[in-house]
């Protein structure tokens, strides 16, 4: 287990290296002089030259890359052009919001996605299945921002139940009750993802229910609900866990939009704003951070996978 984890961690290094090259190239392929873009229209040529020298833009591309990587390895992602503070601090500021948003979203996804998926598969072909699996597909077809806007219109503007935007830190006044700011955003974010989980649980359960061992379980005289949960769902969970890593990438995409709709001070909105502000050090840092997170989550999924499926040995 430990040996496997270490081995897997080592394989992350080349992946991260390729990712960092790609991120670096993306940013430096942008047409125009980066120093000129950073300084805006009113900058004088002398200012631009000075900034170029300061940021290292006048050096060859590969030297710039090595310099960046060297600094990153020392924990220095550079300074935000917009905030004038270290990139790492900027990311850390957004982390609290994004982490709480992610946790609450996961809560809704598990709360709704899994039971509805089981229900749908258990009544396969019946009206419950048609409504739930059709409904899930409908929810997966709704643009996240559109759902968010109408939730704000109904529950914030109309009924006044929840605040419509922002998120004060839970260390501020109000403490944990500040989490109510995240209820609508997390529901918005959870809707399409829970819908995917419903479809996934349903499809995997239907696959498993055709396997021979389910017939064995039924021949034992077990109650159909017990067969469904203990035998079919337990095996379907293996496939669901395997797909979970990919769900994370979709979740981040939608978090970017959701945080923008609800003006949440999270990492997702930071990305969009940095892109609009052309704040390259922040863009580079955040994307590298998200890729790293994606890889770590997939590693954790693999470890969980081995626990779920005794046939998989971590060697």
């Amino acid at each position: 287990m430990l040996g496997y984890t270490v081995k897997r961690l080592l394989t992350l290094i080349p992946t991260l290296l390729i990712a960092s090259i790609l991120i670096f190239l993306f940013i430096h392929l942008i047409p125009g002089d980066p120093a000129a873009i950073l300084l805006g229209d009113s900058a004088t040529p002398e200012d631009i030259a000075a900034l170029s020298a300061q940021m290292g833009f006048d050096k060859p591309l590969w030297q710039q890359y090595l310099l960046w990587i060297k600094n990153v390895l020392h924990g220095d992602f550079g300074n935000s052009v917009f905030f004038k503070t270290p990139v790492l601090d900027v990311i850390a500021d957004g982390a609290e919001t994004s982490i709480f948003l992610a946790l609450m979203t996961m809560f809704w996804i598990v709360l709704f996605g899994i039971p509805i998926g089981i229900l749908s598969a258990s009544f396969h072909g019946g009206w419950i299945d048609q409504i739930t699996s059709g409904g899930a597909m409908l929810f997966a077809s709704i643009p996240t921002f559109w759902l968010g806007l109408y939730l704000i219109l109904i529950f914030s503007v109309g009924l006044g139940w929840f605040p419509s935007s922002g998120f004060p830190s839970i260390s501020d006044d109000g403490g944990l009750t500040n989490l109510r700011y995240l209820i609508l955003p997390s529901l918005t974010l959870a809707a399409p993802n829970a819908a995917l989980i419903v479809r996934l649980v349903r499809a995997s359960m239907l696959d498993v229910s055709r396997e021979d061992h389910v017939r064995t379980a039924r021949s034992k005289g077990l109650h159909p609900a017990r067969v469904s949960i203990k035998h079919v769902f337990r095996n379907a969970l293996i496939a669901v866990a395997a797909a979970f890593g990919f769900t994370f990438a979709a979740l981040v995409s939608e978090a970017v939009v959701t945080e923008t709709v609800f003006s949440l001070p999270g990492i997702g909105r930071l990305v969009v704003q940095s892109i609009l502000r052309r704040d390259y050090p922040v863009i580079q840092g955040v994307i590298l951070f998200i890729v790293l997170l994606y890889l770590v989550i997939n590693l954790l999924v693999d470890l969980a996978y081995a626990r779920l499926d005794p046939r998989v040995s971590l060697q």
Binding site: I18, L22, I30, Q130, P143, F145, Y150, V252, I275
Partner: protein
């Protein structure tokens, strides 16, 4: 099997998927005949009739410039098809080729798939956003960017499916009878992948709509003057409290079209070779 028999077998007994296919036909008709169907010029500004409620002559009301929402929605259908078909072509051509070649030539494949795996670690929208900053906001660029984003998953899927086929006996047989690489790839392997390809295309078509709308909403998609459903939502979002219907119509159009395409894709997936069923990641 004839085309008619295939279509019949896909939609038989599937009321929802049939509805989806019909709705897509409606969208296609609106897109093709937009200039005949739309009662007004989608760009014509009428400052007197700002934020009119739905009724006559403005079926879906007007936006804050006084433009007719219905006419814009009809032209939006045209943009939806352009985005959908464009991204599908880019994704399938790039992704399909990469997947096919990587599976067939394993040395090259090892390298290419490594890059694809890394790209898949970038969340789709983020990749699209970054790529969009490199390019001008234009219809063509949006199509290319969304296509590239989905080329990664497509390449992965085709890689897997080609690997399965590569080990089949009939490929060995073709190789033994002296068939060239290109003949094996394009005459023996590719024809077996047409139907999974079509299913994958329908899901890309659906996702591309959502992705394009999200890019429009964040202000990094189609140019603002283009009448697309995403732009209609993006421009009118601040008027949601004053004129809630303004976001209702384009939103409903996106949802219905994506939903329909997903339904059709789902129905088609059930009719393809069961070996490939789990390769395709749809809804």
């Amino acid at each position: 099997m004839t085309v008619r028999a295939t279509i019949y077998s896909i939609f038989r007994g599937r009321k929802l998927a049939t509805f989806g296919a019909l709705w897509l036909c409606v969208i296609a008709i609106a897109a093709i005949g937009a200039q005949f169907i739309a009662p007004f010029d989608p760009l014509e500004i009428d400052p007197i009739a700002r934020l009119t409620e739905p009724g006559l002559p403005y079926l879906f009301g007007t936006d804050h410039f006084g433009r007719d929402t219905f006419s814009r929605a009809v032209y939006g259908a045209r943009m939806a098809l352009i985005i959908g078909f464009g991204s599908v072509i880019v994704a399938l051509v790039c992704g399909g080729l990469i997947g096919l070649l990587s599976a067939y030539f394993s040395t090259l494949g090892h390298f290419l798939m490594r890059i694809i795996d890394v790209l898949m670690a970038f969340p789709a929208l983020l990749l699209a956003l970054v790529l969009m900053t490199l390019l001008e906001r234009s219809v063509l660029n949006t199509v290319i960017v969304i296509g590239i984003v989905y080329a990664t998953t497509t390449a992965r899927i085709f890689f897997g499916m080609t690997l399965k086929l590569k080990n089949e006996v009939f490929i060995d047989a073709a190789r033994c009878s002296g068939a060239s690489h290109s003949s094996i790839l394009f005459k023996h392997i590719l024809p077996n992948l047409w139907s999974p390809l079509l299913v994958q295309a329908s899901f890309i078509f659906a996702f591309a709509q959502l992705q394009a709308a999200a890019l429009d909403f964040l202000g990094l998609g189609l140019p603002p003057e283009v009448a697309s459903w995403g732009n209609m939502l993006a421009e009118e979002k601040i008027y949601i409290t004053r004129a809630p219907w303004l976001l209702m119509f384009p939103g409903a159009l996106i949802i219905l079209s994506v939903f329909s395409m997903n339904l059709v894709g789902d129905a088609m997936r059930d009719s393809i070779d069961p070996r490939f069923k789990n390769d395709i990641a749809g809804v």
